[in-house]
Amino acid sequence: MIEITNLTKTYAGHIHALDDVSLTIGSGMFGLLGANGAGKTTLMRIMAGLVKPSGGRIVVLGHDMASYAGQQATKALLGYLPQELGFYPNLSAREFLDYLAILKGVADPKIRRTQIDTLIEMVRLTDAADRRLKTYSGGMKRRFGIASALLGSPQLLIVDEPTVGLDPEERIRLRNLLADLARRCTVILSTHIIEDIGASCTQLAVMAKGRVTYQGTPAEMIAQARGHVWTVTTAGEAPLDSGSGDVGSIVSMRQMSDGVQYRMVGEHLPNATAQAVEPSLEDGYMWLTRGTEKVSSG
């Protein structure tokens, strides 16, 4: 359980990375969604004890992160996969996992060896475990990162954009692995890929410009957009304003045999030919954020 109350973080140069963030995160898989620069990584780094907040309070698994003792206690229960995964290129996966396991407090060599063997098998790196990490592909490095985050059987797993750079099959496999882990521990997944959230998260929060703009279930986020999602087919040009002054945001475009089909999210019907459709999670997100691509009238 994580309780975040009025959390703020301001970097040098008056950069407000987090602005009065309040969240409650329970067990299971929690998704953190938002554009680049929304504050997701900063929030995750604060939860992992890597960054001190400028204000507010955060309690992770019963430990107040304001105190050094609280931070150290949390770190002993935490697994963290950063957005930019680092590793020593001249160590093998097994060696680096052993090193991290020791630092995480897994003192017994036999338990450590068993854990590492299990994790290496779980992420399908058995054949490459004794090869140096510099020889690993991007997908292998990500899998190694997951294994490193799971050392010490953490109660809280924080994964920051874990599927970046993975091919579709790897992404699905990793998502399924995280969903499976969420049965045993709390998983906080940060991503800007909506399918990752929809496939496995029971709760999610949307962040924009350092603030939480939504917290709830994926189903609730979809429900918010119901009645505001349409498809419009045109000869090719973007749909024009029918008089409402705001045709909404284009979510996607698809080439059809009879023209270009636009999927749109907006307050009003874009034009007379538009058809209402059942919203997806992506539509719900677009409805919330209202606007990576507004189409102006005329």
């Binding site: 004890g49 150290q72 995964l85 090193y99 630092l103």
Partner: protein, 309 residues
């Protein structure tokens, strides 16, 4: 014993030491130092032996009555005095051979280690930032103090291996080129003179470079440190040879010229024989104090950096 070691290396500090040794040796830095020392050893011992210098020094050290010159500066005038000294006890030839090593091959090896190893040490912490491992390490319960301590001890453990190879190599070369020598005093020479230097000086560089974000700037600090050490050694040596007795600066000088003079020059220069082994140890003690001070500053800076990040 194996169980004890296994348990020791399973603690966070023990684990850091173990893997820092592995990391240092798998990077090319220490290997380059080792090959340089091997080359230097071969060149030094055989060229000095062939030139006859080593034999002359052995003959000089073996003489019952020893005649040496001393430079004296008084009333603005420089004079050279001849001093004679009679040893209290007859000298063991093997021990004389070790003394000859101490004043010929050892000083060159010492200076090279003093200069080269800090260049390897400089990026011990910056390396973690370069490979983006810092976040992973920070997400564990490892404290800043333990992190710094682990870095320093890990580097030192790696250097002990280097020193062991250098000791054996130079001993072997000396045995072939010159002859038998007294092994216990030979080992004591390296342990008392070089081992503390390998702990204190590279550790200072690790700590001084710990604040650098990039490897390049850390290595620049390493280079600057090498030049500084050369400079400080030069100042220290010229001061000692001019004055003959240690002053306060000689004790606090970060390259410990008293140690160098005691082992490397005093055996053949009676003017420097006011320097005792106690001076050498005091110099090391002060050096350890300087290291502790810099370590505290580096730890405080690391914590402040984390708090402001």
């Amino acid at each position: 014993m194996a169980n004890v070691l296994r348990r020791a290396f399973s603690t966070p500090l023990g684990g850091m030491i173990r893997y820092e040794v592995l990391l240092h040796w798998r990077q090319r830095g220490l290997l380059v130092v080792l090959f340089t020392m091997i080359l230097l050893g071969v060149l030094t011992v055989f060229s000095l032996s062939n030139s006859g210098l080593i034999q002359r020094i052995i003959d000089q050290l073996s003489m019952d009555v020893v005649s040496r010159s001393q430079t004296v500066i008084a009333d603005g005038q420089t004079t050279i005095q001849t001093i004679t000294q009679t040893p209290d006890t007859p000298k063991n030839p093997a021990y004389i051979s070790t003394q000859a090593f101490s004043v010929t091959a050892w000083p060159i090896a010492y200076i090279m280690l003093l200069i080269l190893v800090p260049m390897v040490a400089a990026d011990a912490i910056a390396r973690d930032r370069k490979y983006r491992v810092t976040d992973l390490l920070d997400s564990t319960p490892l404290s800043s103090a333990l992190y710094l301590f682990g870095k320093i001890l890990g580097l030192f453990a790696a250097e002990v291996g280097l020193l062991l190879v250098v000791m054996i190599l130079y001993g072997g070369l000396w045995r072939v080129a010159v002859g038998a020598f007294d092994i216990p005093s030979y080992i004591a020479l390296w342990l008392v003179s070089t081992l503390p230097m390998l702990f204190i000086n590279p550790s200072l560089i690790v700590l001084l470079a710990s604040g650098q974000n990039g490897r390049r700037s850390a290595l620049l600090i390493g280079f600057a440190a090498c030049f500084a050490m050369f400079f400080f050694l030069g100042i220290g040596l010229s001061h000692m040879r001019t004055v003959g007795t240690p002053a306060l600066w000689d004790y606090v000088n970060p390259v410990h010229p008293l140690v160098f003079e005691y082992f490397g020059y005093a055996p053949v220069n009676v003017s420097l024989q006011s320097i005792t082994i106690g001076d050498a140890w005091l110099s090391w003690l002060i050096g350890a104090g300087e290291l502790a001070l810099v370590a505290w500053a580096a730890w405080a800076w690391l914590n402040r950096r984390k708090a402001n990040s």
